[in-house]
Amino acid sequence: MTTSPQTIEELATREYKYGFTTEVETDTIAKGLNEDVVRAISQKKGEPEWLLEWRLKAYRLWLSMKEPTWQNVKYDPINYQDIVYYSAPKKKKVLNSLDEMDPEVRRTFDKLGIPLEEQKLFAGVAVDAVFDSVSVATTFREKLASVGIIFMSFSEAVREHPDLVRQYLGSVVPHTDNFFAALNSAVFSDGSFVYIPKGVRCPMELSTYFRINAKDTGQFERTLIIADEGAFVSYLEGCTAPMRDENQLHAAVVELVAHDDATIKYSTIQNWYPGDKDGKGGIYNFVTKRGLCAGRGSKITWTQVETGSAITWKYPGCILQGDNSIGEFYSVATTNNWQQADTGTKMIHLGKNTRSTIVSKGISAGHGQNTYRGMVRVGKNAKHARNYSQCDSLLIGDKCGAHTFPYLEIRNTSARVEHEASTSKIGEDQIFYCRQRGLTTEDAVNMIVSGFCREVFRELPMEFAVEAQKLLSVSLEGSVG
């Protein structure tokens, strides 16, 4: 009955339930990175010359770059020669339908709750499934194509819509952006491509499910979403990986472009393997995500629920270039056991009357370290720009940490910028109150935490809000009690 100190100490004991591996024959390029590997990836994908050149330019630049060290996370140096940069399930011939997919791969997605048969999916969600380095299936393509929407793997888009890809690739996150973006630009192997034509409201949720399977393999995917004038799309990505003792690198790049009056909602439920309770293994999630509100009145909303990964390093941001454009960032980041997260956003106000909202909820438990890092920059022409930021941290136990680093750069005096921050602990008194009403400690913690995250969860598409809540409760399992 004496609960206090250790109740709060025993963190996360339930096993990561997506930690299984799949036995498939793979087509793999040997470990290590050099120009030949970059060429080999490009060749395997049958890419045009310009793309290979783009990759090589990025690779050469990367060689001269230094891994960033400013972030508030600790890890042993990564040996970039000890990573497999390309691994794909072997296929015997060109895949014409799902029936020809490796049944093992297909079973993997079934097991993950992502059945790839269209009739079995959530009604109204189209899925692109990425397994290690390649996209293995994309559902509802025809249906979407009938209204002019392009939703396919990045590799296919390079073949089928080279002009669009060439026009937008690197336009929001150039290969020069940062160390991991440069690396990604050199070796990216697949990802999703979305184009919503003028005035079209995408009739279903689009989603990509990323699965890392192979050992020692890094995943480097690229997602590019373009919403043309007046278009609307809601996109969701999810991800899991097997439990392995070694750390694995995931360095993705996501670029969004919203033209006049277009809206892109991009939601992430990140559940990469977080490592075990002693901090062994887990994914290094070093991701660059950025949206360009290119047009007047355009809007980009990032919503992220980050529960997995040993280390999370990502700052999905918005460049508010069009007048009256809107950027939003809603985030829940959980760190339990020995997880570390340094995450936040960048809101760059360039156009007039641009508005941004940042709501960040950090939850730390166990020995977890959770950092919010956010930049709000108002350029000198961004008259009447407005930003509202709210950063709340919730601590469970007394061995974890929460940190907040807001950066504000205001170059226009008409800007209005607000920042609010709070840190609280889940109180024993709150837990006891719930228990006295008949709830178990675990239910009590879940309830308190989901109350804390409510403002973010309500931004998620409905089917996924429930999923996110469940995930959160699993990732905090054992944190109290």
Binding site: T2, S4, F432, R435, Q436, R437, G438, M447, R454
Partner: protein, 253 residues
């Protein structure tokens, strides 16, 4: 229903209850009174299983079962309810949602089907009349931004909903003005039943004008120093606690 035998309780290493005996039958209302620091709230919290209240001796039987062996949440599901002196706020958690979770946890425990949202709203409607609870209070977060009176009313409302066998009111009257006090008392009185026992912990006789107890006990220095009928409360109101405390010293000497 409740049988407490020489219960001893420590809080933060300090012995607060030094051997309490109390028997409460179904249908009875007992008032526990006493000066500040006498241990009356300690008794309430120990019975509900608060983790900071360490039982160092004695036993408590609740319907023949060892209450002290049960987790706080099991006690609650078995039918022990405590109205808190200081109800806590839970930001972002809808009050109705919280109540539904609590009620369903209890129903599940007793093998009853859980109520769905429609059934639950119906139930809430009935019960909220009882306490003149404004429906808007149910859509707000648990106790968040509630006035002192609203918090206490919410406690009694939860009690009405959860229908405990044993309800313990921990200084529910503190901080209430007379109108709020009457409302709360009406709620409690409506809950009186031959199958339910109620323990009212209070410093002042005032509440007992509205919730008339069958038995009154006086705690002082961690012991029961006097028990009697409802007239004992009136005597305390007149004479204060001093004469009893002196009495204890005399007995002790």
């Amino acid at each position: 229903m409740l049988d407490i035998k020489s219960l001893q309780v420590k809080v933060e290493g300090k012995q607060i209850l030094k051997g309490i005996d109390l028997r409460v039958n179904a249908g009875e209302v007992h008032a526990i009174m006493g000066p500040n620091g006498s241990g009356k709230s300690t008794l309430a919290r120990a019975l509900s299983g608060h983790p900071e209240y360490e039982v160092t001796g004695g036993e408590v039987l609740f319907e023949g079962q060892d209450l002290l062996e049960m987790d706080p949440d099991t006690r609650a599901r078995e039918g022990v309810f405590m109205a808190f002196q200081y109800p806590v706020e839970i930001a972002g958690v809808n009050n109705a949602y919280f109540l539904k979770a609590a009620l369903n946890a209890k129903r599940k425990h007793h093998g009853q089907p859980e109520l769905d949202a429609m059934e639950f709203m119906q139930l809430i409607k009935e019960k909220s009349k009882l306490l003149d609870i404004d429906q808007s209070m149910l859509s707000r977060a648990v106790n968040e931004g509630f006035s002192g009176g609203e918090k206490k009313r919410n406690e009694i409302f939860q009690m009405a909903l959860l229908e405990p066998k044993l309800a313990i009111l921990d200084e529910t009257d503190s901080g209430l003005d007379i109108d709020a006090l009457k409302l709360v008392a009406n709620g409690v009185n409506a809950m009186r039943s031959p199958t339910r026992a109620i323990i009212v912990v209070t410093h002042y006789q005032r509440l007992l004008d509205y919730i008339v107890p069958d038995h009154v006990h006086v705690l002082s220095g961690g012991r029961m120093v006097k028990s009697g009928g409802k007239e004992l409360a009136l005597e305390l109101e007149r004479r204060g606690y001093g004469w009893l405390e002196n009495g204890v010293t005399a007995v002790g000497a």
